[in-house]
């Protein structure tokens, strides 16, 4: 894992004027985002704003029609998704998407698909350290896990790729409040060990409480960005996303 870097200009991920489409649907309309190394950056916004599309564009599941995505200073906007796993992008996708027929351990090994056996044996221990529950249930099939456990597995599986930046798409979705607390605690823990995280959330209050900075997305555009503190105090954010009026 990379040590946190103190140089303010060390940007892991940089999106410049990114436009992404689903056929004729113009889902991202010129997005600019920067993710500094060692930070948690959150992407908030209503359903359909384009948060998931942004993450899918970064991890290469879709390619932008215009604009650039840079990872560690290198343009990756045309790189295939499977190559970006090697390049350093770990993505725990929306809906978890774990392999329900495989056991927890096999799911984690799938995460280490591009890695050597020795690397995986070491990294599995690291993941079990973060999520002791996964160790307890290592030989249980993914499909039999509860929602919270599946989310832990999805995050653990993404960590198995040993990423430079971890993309998390609504990890708290559908979880009971106590589990939401737990998941956010773990995200903070992973970050404190040096991992850069881009966190997509609808749960804006929670997300802003652990993030260094945030971007507010609306219909495919960034409408607001700044430090988490500024966003939390912003009138519009309070009204729209923090449920105040």
């Amino acid at each position: 894992m990379t040590a946190p870097n103190t140089v303010a200009t060390d940007v892991v991920l940089k999106l410049t004027n990114v436009h992404s489409y689903y056929g004729a649907i113009h889902a991202l309309r010129g997005i600019d985002i920067e993710v500094p190394r060692g930070e948690i950056v959150t992407l908030i916004g209503a359903n359909g704003a384009g948060k998931t599309t942004t993450l899918r564009t970064i991890s290469g599941l879709i390619h932008p029609r215009e604009g650039s995505v840079e990872l560690n200073g290198k343009d990756i906007s045309k790189t295939a998704a499977h190559e970006l796993v090697v390049a350093g992008i770990g993505h725990a996708p929306e809906g978890r998407r774990i392999f329900s027929r495989l056991t927890i351990y096999e799911n984690l090994l799938m995460g280490g698909f591009t890695r050597t056996k020795a690397e995986n044996l070491e990294q599995v221990e690291h993941v079990y350290g973060l999520f002791p529950r996964l160790r307890e249930r290592a030989s249980q099939k993914g499909g039999t896990l509860s929602g919270g456990e599946q989310q832990m597995l999805a995050i653990g599986r993404a960590l198995m790729t040993r990423p430079d930046v971890l993309l998390l798409d609504e990890p708290s979705l559908g979880l009971a409040p106590i589990l939401v607390q737990q998941i956010f605690g773990i995200i903070r823990e992973i970050n404190s060990r040096g991992m850069t995280i881009l966190l997509v959330e609808q749960n804006a209050l929670q997300a802003l409480s652990i993030a260094n900075r945030g971007y507010v997305l609306q219909t495919g555009e960034v409408v607001l960005s700044g430090s988490s503190r500024d966003l939390r105090e912003n009138e519009m954010v309070r009204k729209a996303y923090l449920g105040e009026d």
């Binding site: 991890s59 290469g60 599941l61 295939a80 998704a81 499977h82 796993v85 090697v86 993505h91 996708p93 809906g95 978890r96 998407r97 774990i98 392999f99 329900s100 027929r101 495989l102 799938m110 995460g111 698909f113 591009t114 499909g143 039999t144 896990l145 509860s146 929602g147 599986r157 993404a158 790729t161």
Partner: protein, 343 residues
């Protein structure tokens, strides 16, 4: 079991019904079936059923693997089997100039190996090319588009062979000598034993490949969830190409076997065989490789069983009748486990 895994939304634990009974049934039911069939048909017809079943099973594997990974019913797959037979007869008959059986095992063995090698390699290459040119560009298209394309590919393959070899049967050199292995009072053709052994070895090798290797894991994960597989670092384009390669190579092997067994081939042989092999794949549970092999053998037994009972003309009707009955009671086939339901 190597069904490529399917993802499903699952909250709580799923407890399979009669969990302790199932493995036992899986052994007892086939054993009872085999003993019954043997007693009913006699050893010669029993082996005959296994031989036919082996050919159907080899073809069915290609249907089921391709369906498992890209949810395409590859209607051209039966024609790949037919082409495999023509590659084999071209190689043995026209290039090597062989006509009859070769009794010298020291000559026969390398020729057999070469025939399988050539046919499997050529068909594998054709399979990959077809995937690249005809199916890959349609990957994001509605399901009907690749399906119709597959029917088109089927016509193209048939017409290529008809142009080159004409509309009538072409002889395929039966290089395997016809002698029987006598066990007690039963006489079993050595060729049948050879075919069954070759086919079973390929099936076992395929199972090991899918369940034990890195590429096998890539295939299973791509079948279960293409996006998730990519996020693990799986190159899905290559994985899908390899799936076509293996399926087509197995069809090529089935073509060689068919030539050795029946000695003739015609441009439209792929239609009937393909239909029955497809039925086998559905019967066993499409997407499930063990199911496809099982389905192939079951269809072999049904056909030969019908002949033994004097209903040989009813063979196909009984085959499809059994399919209908199975699907009514088990819509996902005998071994179930549909692939590719994406979460």
């Amino acid at each position: 079991m190597t069904a490529l895994p399917a993802t499903s939304e699952a909250g709580g634990a799923r407890v399979p019904m009669g969990a302790s009974l199932k493995p036992l049934l899986r052994l007892v039911v086939p054993a009872v079936f085999l003993v019954g069939a043997y007693a009913f048909m006699g050893p010669e017809q029993f082996v005959n059923a296994l031989t036919r079943g082996a050919i159907y099973a080899l073809i069915a594997l290609g249907y089921t693997m391709v369906y498992g990974i890209i949810e395409l019913i590859n209607f051209a797959h039966g024609d790949m089997f037919m082409m495999g037979a023509f590659v084999s007869l071209t190689f043995l008959g026209q290039i090597l100039g062989l006509t009859g059986s070769i009794t010298d095992i020291a000559r026969l063995a390398p020729l057999l190996v070469a025939a399988f090698f050539v046919s499997m390699i050529v068909m594998g290459a054709i399979g990959v090319t077809i995937e690249r040119l005809a199916y890959k560009p349609l990957r994001g298209a509605p399901r009907l588009a690749p399906l119709i394309t597959a029917i088109g590919v089927s016509f193209i393959l048939q017409n290529i062979v008809m142009l080159k070899y004409g509309p009538f049967q072409t002889n395929s050199p039966k290089i395997f000598p016809s002698f029987d292995i006598v066990i007690g009072s039963a006489k079993i053709p050595a060729l049948s034993v050879f075919i069954i052994v070759v086919a079973l070895s390929m099936m076992v090798a395929l199972q090991l490949f899918i369940s034990r290797t890195r590429l096998g894991r890539a295939m299973r994960s791509t079948a279960a969830d293409r996006d998730a597989a990519q996020l693990m670092g799986v190159n899905i384009n290559r994985t899908i190409a390899i799936t076509f390669l293996i399926g087509a190579a197995l069809a090529g092997a089935a073509g060689v076997v068919n030539g050795l067994q029946y000695g003739v081939s015609r441009f439209d042989d792929g239609f009937q065989a393909g239909l029955k092999a497809f039925t086998a794949a559905v019967l066993g549970g499409i997407g499930n490789t063990v199911g496809a092999a099982l389905g192939g053998f079951i269809i072999g037994f049904i056909e030969v069983g019908a002949t033994v009972m004097g209903f040989s003309r009813w063979g196909p009707a009984i085959v499809f009748g059994v399919l209908v009955i199975v699907l009514v009671f088990r819509p996902s086939g005998l071994l179930g486990q549909q692939l590719g339901e994406r979460a």
